[in-house]
Symmetry: C2
């Protein structure tokens, strides 16, 4: 049994149940788990750890690629298994534990966790739990639908637990390109100079002696929870495409554009979906996650290839992807997130970065993470890796939330994840503000008039005019700068009462 | 005359006065001028432009490396010559014009201006004005005490004006290493894998036909305006050194440390000066500017070599440097600021980044630029290039300013240049907060207890405790988050009245 999945016969003796494997953990350990945007996460060990924690204390530092599927994050958090969590999550139950202060959450740039582990800035990983489609004859671990930080975890962990998922087809083998930079300061250049390139191995190399357990699973990734587009996301897509057409016309890029990155979620997915009706051809993606839209663009032929660290699809698109894997395998590369998001590579390739803002202010500072300035939503993810180092940094958002009670365009961002220095273009369904080469006072006018919801424009204009009385590079009325957020908490809306 | 300085005889005919050269400009042009932290700036053309603006409208977009010396920025701004300015400045008169809204100031990461010019995100440079020690036989421009963006300006400008400064010794030739990355997206790796390495040419290559004027000058750079250290900067230096000793002891780096970067200014200079009494040996610098302290460390032998984009010294140290140039030439490399600050190189080498904060908040967000959240001080400079991409990012500040009326540790930064994601260590004269791997709630306690001035700790604790009642990943009382800054404006102090 499983000879095609476990091709090194001596490892057969490491086959065990998840319950047995869960005994390899000890209270206080640091655990690295595969999984990135609900793709390629371990399916059995999280539940086994929850079960173990019913009987004895088991508090872990849990590091992943990004968010886990299968409610694993929430189940482990609710069981008290997760003491510390990094670098990203998107689970409602875990989010509650984070915001109540029960779980310490370290919100990191997705390219940096591996670097901090390597440098010793973070405690080393004790146990790695990696979902795989197979273990090769020489002990290589072939990942499933994401790579994330798995290679780094395997490199560092004293014990490696491999979950072989029979639901992940063997045909995924060959999709991955595993390359890790050498430790600093003696590191060479990362030899990746175009999105297509493969620079590593197709499996994660590991000394087989460190494989402490192999657990068989047979369940699919959680499907993407991106919602279908709507009139507003269509409008945002239209503004983005018109802007990019302008860039091509101005000679700043060719009709193949520059390599595209798009963040996780509904709006970015809808914008990419909108590219199907665009005039661009032979595009490439150099992103961290591929959603349904990327597959659609590969199918339409407009996207020549796509590089990422994870593939997160709807159930229907997942089946289509698996059914046509032979075809996609030549046009998709899955890399460690350290490489998909690496500043060196992102800067070199000149990425167009498209990410979602929770809110932004009239000067172009972006909040990607904190609802009301205090409560964590998901995390910054890779948005900073791409926005800082790409050639063009676009942030998109609907202009209002909660039926208009919240304006996404505010006087001052209540939390800043991306500073004015890193934001080139802001887009809502109302329009686009091209901030390149503009000073804050010039940006304010554009952002208010092009991006804000018309219901909020008068009070934004009034704020800005009052702020101008105090002068400055970035005029503000500090007493009122965060008053909109405070008003929402007390009055249920950011809208000011009519004068 | 000048045969040693102008080695291509045909160019002798381009010799002219600054007044004549000033006629090459037209109203509305974009001008790229050499100069970085008061070093290597053009000495004659700024005054000639001011003179010309007395008689006719002359409003320019002025792009430099960083700050100019000789009051040039202020004189040009006061004469109305500067309509737009980027990417950095430090002049009192220009600052007033910026904060009054008369000059549009675009505050940029110092590595990015060149990239934006190359990509066409900024309007191209019409005229470049470059201080040089010589023009070579093949038309190469040999820069003086800084490289900055000069090579990029020369590459792009239709007309190049060279100021040959006789006060800058010919012996500076050979100090520089001029390398520019290719345009994206077809760019290879930057082949620089250690701080010592030379990867380019010793002069800026230019088609001699584009050299439109050569102006002779004979005046020195403005001396550094860094103040001598004091008891507080000594204490900060002590905390930084003890921290670095801990890193060596923990095995996270060797006794040569990692390549050091230190920002411009009094505190960073004093911290580096403090390294003379440290146990570290064979250190290297990979920084953007070398101050007196770098020369002292080269003299003491602790610093093996230093790479930067500029050398800004006190008058006395400048003379010492010139007198011993043959010795230093083997141990100093001056690079374009795009390379000295390049994310690719900074990340690869694993820089220790040491930069100055104006203020920081209890969660680790840093304001480097805006006094009171609104008024520009100097600009972000290269701090973001290094803090984001280096291995360790330290920010230093005295705990209070204005005789204690302003706390540098505040509930919420009134402007954010460096987010919590990019700040590893905070230091004041009171102590050091090592934030690595910590969640915001954990950071708050450390920052308040280790870094804040004791006079402000009670009210910081009270703020944090009240904020905790509202919960969240990053607890805040939005109504009070910026109240300290507002109180300073009305009451002249951030200190709360005794209850």
């Amino acid at each position: 049994m499983y000879e095609d999945r476990i091709r090194r016969p001596a490892l057969m003796e490491k086959l065990m149940s998840a319950e047995q494997a869960a005994k390899l953990f000890a209270d206080g350990m640091t655990v690295g788990m595969s999984g990135f945007t609900r793709a390629g996460d371990a399916k059995a060990l999280p539940a086994a750890l929850v079960e173990r924690a019913r009987h004895e204390p088991l508090r872990l530092t849990l590091i992943t690629g990004a968010s886990l599927g299968n409610d694993s994050d929430g189940l482990m958090a609710s069981a008290g298994v997760v003491a510390r969590r990094l670098p990203f999550q998107s689970d409602a139950a875990l989010r509650r534990k984070i915001n109540s202060g029960e779980v310490m959450f370290i919100d990191q740039h997705l390219s940096e966790t591996a670097e901090q582990l390597r440098s010793g800035d973070l405690a080393p990983v004790d146990v790695a739990v990696i979902e795989a489609v197979a273990i090769t004859a020489d002990g290589g671990i072939v990942p499933s639908m994401s790579v994330g930080n798995s290679a780094n975890f395997v490199l560092q962990a004293k014990k490696v637990i491999v979950e072989i998922n029979l639901a992940a087809p063997l045909a995924l083998e060959g999709l991955h390109d595993i390359y890790l930079p050498a430790p600093r300061p003696r590191r060479g250049a990362i030899p990746l100079i175009n999105a297509w390139q493969r620079i590593g191995t197709s499996a994660i190399q590991v000394d087989p002696a460190r494989i402490a357990a192999i657990v068989i699973t047979d369940s699919p990734d959680s499907p993407s929870n991106a919602l279908p587009g709507d009139a507003e996301t269509d409008a945002i897509a239209g503004h983005v495409i018109a802007f990019l057409e302008g860039e091509v016309k101005a000679g700043r890029m060719g009709p193949e554009l520059l390599p595209l990155q798009a963040g996780i979620g509904t709006i970015a997915n809808a914008v990419l979906h909108g590219l199907i009706d665009s005039p661009f051809r032979d595009m490439t993606m150099y992103s961290e996650v591929l959603q349904d839209s990327a597959i659609e663009l590969l199918d339409s032929g407009q996207l020549a290839m796509a590089s990422a660290s994870s593939i997160t699809l709807s159930a229907k698109m997942h089946q289509h992807f698996i059914d046509n894997l032979e075809r996609y395998r030549q046009r998709i590369v899955l890399r460690p997130q350290e490489i998909s998001n690496h500043p060196e590579v992102v800067r070199r390739l000149g990425i167009i970065a498209l990410n979602t803002a929770l809110e932004f202010d009239i000067y172009g500072n972006v909040n990607s993470t904190h609802v009301g300035g205090t409560h964590m939503m998901n995390g910054i993810g890779g948005s900073g890796d791409f926005a800082r180092n790409g050639q063009l940094s676009l942030f998109v958002s609907k202009s209002v939330a909660k039926g208009g009670a919240i304006s996404s365009v505010v006087p001052m961002a209540s939390h800043v994840d991306h500073t004015e220095h890193d934001v080139d273009v802001l887009v809502t369904e109302w329009g686009l503000a091209d901030l390149r080469g503009l000073a804050p006072r010039e940006r304010a006018v554009l952002i208010i008039e092009n991006c804000a919801h018309p219901d909020y424009r008068p009070q934004l204009r009034a704020y800005y005019e009052e702020a101008l009385l105090g002068g400055g590079q970035t005029p503000h009325v500090l007493e009122k700068a965060l008053s909109w957020h405070a008003r929402y908490k007390t009055a249920g809306t950011m809208l000011q009462p009519a004068a």
